[in-house]
Symmetry: C2
Subunit: 176 residues, 2 copies
């Protein structure tokens, strides 16, 4: 059996017995994402900004990365790893030109956040025991209606984050 | 005298007698911007996200727009104008490709926040009486060291925002 398949099966088995419990201050809402059992944390849209990015290519989105207080504190202290309870939110919007802004600038240069793509919301939840087989992180993706992506999609999260192992599997750096 | 020159002179005269007073919860720090007398509001980096954007062309930055509580409340309630005390912050970073992200994606598609350009920070402060001659808004720009831009630069803020008069001179729309 290839190692990655083994990890995925182990994670799926784990999902049968555990479900992520959001702290009282962030009551989980809606359906839980497969494999990791994560619900959308209430109040995530009020979290502080970590950074911004643009993914071109097939995604073609513009995104903001927000963090709960534990995430922000760890980033600002320059910690190499994040404590349990850290939650990082990635919000993506379709990358669209702004006709009204371009009119003011007098040329086509302005790109803004448009409608929500299918991969609108993603969360990384740090729980080093519960998610021990996936680097201590659980992963979740939801569309604009709060529907989680399917199991196959969630199986791709951890393998993709492995190259960032030296930074606790987190790609985004803090923008000052 | 051209109307715009008249407005600028009026604003400059006004700047001689008034200086923006930040509320106690946001103690002003550092040097005040010319014309409008605005200092960097303490705690702005903790404010909630309004939206994100990419300006190509000469600016070539990626930016986040944050708002204090009055700004966020007005946006979320869909108000056509913002109440006095509203402050909107625009943070810009140089738009740079991410080699480490591109390696994971297997192609050049990822652009992230780099170093701070000279126009790193901008603020719009709503005070309908104090800034009556500039649509009710004061404007300020600072570099990464907290140094305000010069008077000539600040004279360009309001004329550029006039096309957005129907939306209370604010270009950015709220990203849900």
């Amino acid at each position: 059996m290839r190692p990655i398949v083994f990890v995925l099966i182990a994670v799926m088995a784990l999902a049968c017995v555990v479900t992520y419990q959001a702290p009282a201050s962030e009551k989980a809402e809606g359906a839980a994402a497969p494999i990791f059992g994560i619900k959308i944390p209430a109040g995530y849209r009020d979290w502080k900004l970590i950074s911004v990015a643009h993914e071109a290519g097939n995604l073609n989105d513009i995104r903001a990365i927000l963090g709960n207080d534990k995430a922000i504190e760890a980033y600002r202290k320059g910690k190499q790893s994040f404590p349990d309870g850290t939650v990082i939110a990635r919000l993506a919007w379709n990358y669209v030109p702004s006709a009204e802004n371009n009119k003011v600038f007098g040329r086509d240069q302005s790109f803004v956040a448009g409608s929500a793509p299918d991969w609108y919301l993603q969360f990384m939840v740090k729980d080093s025991k519960r998610y021990a087989t996936t680097g201590g992180w659980g992963y979740a993706q939801f569309d604009k209606d709060g529907n989680p992506a399917d199991e196959a999609k969630h199986g791709t999260c951890f393998p993709c984050h492995v190259p960032a192992k030296d930074r606790d599997y987190v790609f985004t750096r803090y923008a000052p």
